[in-house]
């Protein structure tokens, strides 16, 4: 069964420092991986996705993510954190073997609260 784990409920980092939000996944086939960000009382905003190709994916607002197939991970990174990056981050996965009744649905992790302090 498809699943996503975000092992850290909370990540705290100082402004200007690099940040990493961790994500590991489990699928039967090959993964399609997504990162979303949620600000308070808002919906989810798409940051980036990995489908195939280069393991380093660049997305919105300076974020990037590294796909590691052997470690089944897709960690979100940013070289220099901003206070405005403080939000709830969700990793999500689809399985490329999904067909028919399960094709297209996303499986989400529980989320990681990122706090960037000045």
């Amino acid at each position: 069964a498809q699943s996503v784990a975000q092992p850290e409920d909370q990540v705290n980092v100082a402004e200007g420092n690099p940040l990493t939000v961790k994500c590991t996944y489990s699928v039967s086939g090959n993964p399609y991986l997504f990162w979303y960000v949620q600000y308070p009382n808002r919906g989810l905003q798409f940051l980036l996705k990995y489908i195939t190709g280069d393991n380093l994916v660049k997305g919105s607002y300076g974020f990037e993510a590294e796909f590691n197939k052997s470690q089944t991970s897709f960690h979100l990174k940013k070289p220099s954190a901003l206070v405005s990056d403080s939000a709830l981050y969700f990793c999500a996965v689809r399985d490329d073997l999904d067909r028919g009744s399960t094709l297209g649905r996303l499986y989400f992790g529980r989320g990681t609260q990122l706090t960037v302090w000045p």
């Binding site: 996503v4 399609y32 997504f34 979303y36 009382n41 808002r42 919906g43 989810l44 905003q45 798409f46 996705k49 489908i51 969700f90 999500a92 689809r94 399985d95 490329d96 999904d98 009744s101 399960t102 094709l103 297209g104 649905r105 996303l106 499986y107 989400f108 992790g109 529980r110 989320g111």
Partner: protein, 117 residues
């Protein structure tokens, strides 16, 4: 370019009542998915509509039903509300997964916060 819109923003109901939530997809999208996000949890897939039919369904009871209209907008209906139905309900739009084999991005609306008392 209008994004995904949802109404209402907030809703308060009592147990046993029925509720209807509405969603308009992003321009150019014809597929709508609904998710439930309980407090402290990630979104859980409810169901997906395209071509005015329910195409997929997650592990939710029949009290949860939906509809898609010819203009691609969608409704989520929940009957016989329970306290546990209190959550943020998110609508996401995309192109049909059958076109892209599941690689297409889903874009989310701001959500409807449902509180059941």
């Amino acid at each position: 370019d209008a994004g995904v819109t949802q109404s209402p923003t907030h809703l308060i109901k009592t147990r046993g009542q029925q509720v209807t939530l509405r969603c308009s997809p992003k321009s150019g999208h014809d597929t709508v998915s609904w998710y439930q996000q309980a407090l402290g949890q990630g979104p859980q897939f409810i169901f997906q509509y395209y071509e005015e039919e329910e195409r997929q369904r997650g592990n939710f009871p029949d009290r949860f039903s939906g509809h898609q209209f010819p203009n691609y907008s969608s409704e989520l209906n929940v009957n016989a509300l329970l306290l546990g139905d209190s959550a943020l309900y998110l609508c996401a739009s995309s192109l049909p997964p059958s076109y892209w084999g599941g690689t297409d991005t889903q874009y989310f609306g701001p959500g409807t916060r449902l509180t059941v008392l």
